[in-house]
């Protein structure tokens, strides 16, 4: 039987532009490449800018997870300034960040995932499906369509919560060095509690049940898309000085063991992505890459993030696994189940944090900048592990590096030719009908790819050009 090359371009229902290229032999995927098709070069843009501006500037990397970038850039600045925010400041900042988890997970499940398994109203051109593998009985299918629309006010309410504390969303103004910029007055907290109660009810009574319904009718997806089975988290809602850890500590899982995490073991490799630089494997603070669109061995704008040279998966399943909340398995369907369950975890954590708030005056002060400094901000966000690394020289940014969750999950091959995590999840997948490869998109979307975030840049001096872009 001949081998078939299949390209899906674009993979829709993700943030940004991505293609999948696979080889299918005997109804099985034998080779796979995931290609990020967008380059913006944020790291390059940030050179020479005022350091504070990074908090609002880097949010524009991603329209669906912008609070993640404001959080990571704030952490990196605080690290560079040697400043520790108050515990109350961290609670408030993390509440905003948590609301983004809710917004993202609800939209990813209903608007991005559901059309993979539910036949949407075919009379609407936007909803016309590419494939015919829909298994839900009509009444169940119709109910999930209703929930697709019923979810819209719910995810909208999550963004409203961000706006209450952060001014607006996407691209909030509230998260900043020291905590947030506004007081958590009783009227605001009351409003947030009320919105949160409605969101939590929807997650508990509708969203989790809908995911389980899909799982029941598509059970083989519990056996597809496993990948390497190595999981990584930078930690989030963790290590509060008074409260301790409410969710997950920085940690990783491989070879059936949970291990502690050491940020010094993170590298990026660029042999197969459209960048040049030396060395071709580097720690986040030492790199300088330049965009090189026609580099022969390159096939993606997404670099290869590695931990001790190994690809890892990051995101809701990794966090649910590492925190012990969910350990049924590692697969495409487990990722989806973990995501909806994590939404409930996060709703409870936000409730917990709200209970801990005390009336406080502003956390802000007129900050001053160090002449020279280096900072790193590592945090788990909606899609997984996000890192910002920066250097300040003469009170300006002289270096900026972003490694987003999608640089882990949708990485290109490593310098050793080892496939990225998403590629490994595709390889070996049985394809029922190579002319209708519905399995590929279902598996890749389970990672919630964000190619908008996968964009980085690096540059020497004021004029250098390079960025690597990928979305978390």
């Amino acid at each position: 039987m001949p081998s078939t090359r299949v390209t899906l371009n674009p993979v829709t229902r993700i943030s940004g532009f991505m293609a999948i290229h696979v080889t299918i032999e005997h109804h099985q995927v034998t080779a796979a490449q995931t290609e990020g098709m967008l380059f913006r070069g944020f790291e390059q843009m940030l050179i020479g800018r005022q350091p504070w501006d990074a908090v609002y500037f880097t949010q524009r990397i991603c329209g669906i997870c912008s609070a993640a970038h404001s959080t990571a850039s704030t952490l990196a600045l605080e690290n560079a300034m040697n400043l520790t925010p108050s515990e109350q400041g961290r609670y408030l900042r993390d509440i905003i960040h948590g609301c983004e988890f809710l917004q993202n997970h609800i939209r990813h499940f209903y608007q991005y995932t559901v059309p993979d398994y539910v036949r949407m109203p075919q009379e609407v051109p936007l909803f016309q499906s590419s494939y015919g593998d829909f298994r839900l009985p009509t009444a169940v299918n119709d109910q999930l369509i209703r929930h697709y629309f019923a979810s819209l006010p719910v995810s909208r309410a999550a963004h409203e919560m961000i706006a209450i504390l952060g001014g607006k969303a996407p691209h909030n103004h509230g998260i900043f060095v020291g905590g947030i910029t506004t007081e958590a007055t009783v009227d605001k907290i009351m409003k947030i509690r009320s919105l949160l109660a409605g969101i939590r009810l929807f997650i508990e009574t509708v969203m989790i049940a809908d995911a389980e319904t899909i799982a029941r009718y598509y059970p083989e997806y519990f056996h597809l898309g496993r990948g390497y089975g190595r999981l990584l988290s930078f930690g989030c809602f963790d290590n509060y000085p008074v409260t301790g850890t409410l969710y997950v500590d920085p940690s990783l899982y491989r070879a059936d063991r949970i291990e502690s995490f050491d940020p010094a073991r993170i590298t990026e490799e660029i042999e197969h992505s459209r960048y040049t630089g030396a060395p071709v494997a580097y720690q986040p603070l030492e790199s300088m890459t330049t965009d090189a669109i026609d580099k022969p061995a390159a096939y993606s704008w997404i670099k290869a993030a590695r931990y001790q040279g190994q690809p890892f998966e990051t995101g809701p399943l990794a966090r649910q696994w590492l925190s012990g909340a969910y350990r049924r398995g590692i697969s495409a369907m487990d990722r989806t189940i973990a995501r909806v369950r994590e939404a409930l975890t996060i709703a409870r954590i936000i409730e917990n944090l709200l209970d801990r708030l005390e009336p406080a005056d502003t956390m802000q002060t007129a900050y001053s900048l160090p002449q020279q400094a280096t900072g790193q901000g590592l945090i788990d966000t909606t899609r997984g592990a996000l890192g910002h690394w920066l250097k300040i020289a003469d009170e300006k940014l002289s270096f900026y590096q972003v490694i987003t969750p999608s640089v882990w999950n949708l990485s290109s091959q490593g310098n050793d030719g080892q496939p990225g995590t998403g590629e490994a999840a595709l390889i070996g997948t049985p394809i029922q009908d190579p002319t209708q490869p519905v399995e590929l998109g279902r598996i890749i979307r389970s990672f919630d790819p964000c190619v908008s975030c996968a964009t980085h840049v690096f540059m020497p001096g004021r004029k250098a050009p390079v960025t690597e872009v990928i979305v978390p």
């Binding site: 371009n9 829709t12 229902r13 669906i64 706006a163 996407p170």
Partner: protein
């Protein structure tokens, strides 16, 4: 292939070189919102974030719209470096379709082009110096006038209000820079609830203060939107009420000419 309803025009929403945050902002709109868009206002045919179909089927929905009556909404700037290959939005018959090609192809035929968000209206964040992907605005790329809805992101009411005006009246009143006066008619500074602090010379010296943020870098005096009166996300708040400066995200020149966003040098 779908049979199109005659009465309603087709709608295409292109995401180009940007963060795809404007389609997310659209989902934050309530009355009307995305539901109205797909069920009653138009035949919504294509958007990368929301299309159920993928790959060539999604591309077919996009390209089969050529030759019909359609409105084109565009978010994101247009990468021109390497002939546009820094942003590829799909492929047609095995060949990559760049953002630049897609926009020129569709932009030549659209009944209206609406540039949504600051990347689309003037390059915005995607064109920030040193403009690594060579981004230009939608209007520059298509070479014909487009309706300009700047903002980072664009407010959902600005998008759907403009679309509704086009559907019901065929046009709406624009200023000299092609912005609807309805939404961009006044300077933020002129409608700012903290204007009295400015007039009295009471200025915040740090974020988090409830007085005038002008000296910290507020761009309200040069930015035209209705943020102070309309507000965001179910009309609950906006950046100045959050005790932070307006960063001029809806002003031409954002971000480079609006920085520094925050300045503690208030002398």
């Amino acid at each position: 292939m779908t049979t199109l309803t005659q009465a309603k025009p087709n709608l295409l929403w292109l995401e180009l070189t940007g963060c795809s945050g404007n389609i997310i902002s659209l989902l934050d709109g309530a009355h009307p919102g995305f539901i109205d868009l797909v069920t009653s206002l138009v035949n919504f045919r294509y958007n990368n974030s929301l299309s159920a179909g993928e790959s060539s089927d999604a591309m077919d929905q996009l390209l089969a719209t050529l030759g019909t009556d359609f409105i084109l909404i565009v978010e994101g700037a247009v990468a021109t470096k390497a002939n546009g290959r820094y942003t590829v939005i799909g492929s047609v018959q095995g060949k990559p379709l760049t953002a630049l090609e897609a926009l020129r192809l569709l932009g030549a035929q659209a009944r209206h082009i609406v540039a949504v968000g600051s990347c689309a209206t003037h390059g915005g964040m995607s064109a920030a110096a040193p403009n690594p992907s060579g981004c230009i605005s939608v209007q520059q790329a298509v070479g014909r006038p487009v309706i300009q809805l700047p903002g980072c992101p664009c407010h959902p009411d600005w998008i759907l209000g403009t679309l509704t005006a086009l559907l019901e009246h065929g046009s709406l009143e624009l200023d000299e820079r092609h912005r609807p006066r309805l939404f961009y008619g006044n300077l933020i500074h002129d409608r700012c609830p903290r204007r009295s602090f400015f007039d009295q010379g009471i200025f915040a010296r740090r974020l988090g203060e409830s007085t005038c943020l002008f000296k910290l870098g507020c761009r309200g005096p040069v930015t035209r939107t209705d943020c102070p009166t309309r507000q965001w996300n179910q009309y609950v708040n906006w950046p100045v009420e959050d005790n932070t400066p307006c960063i001029g995200c809806a002003q031409f020149g954002f971000p480079d000419q609006m920085e520094p966003f925050i300045s503690y040098d208030i002398t």
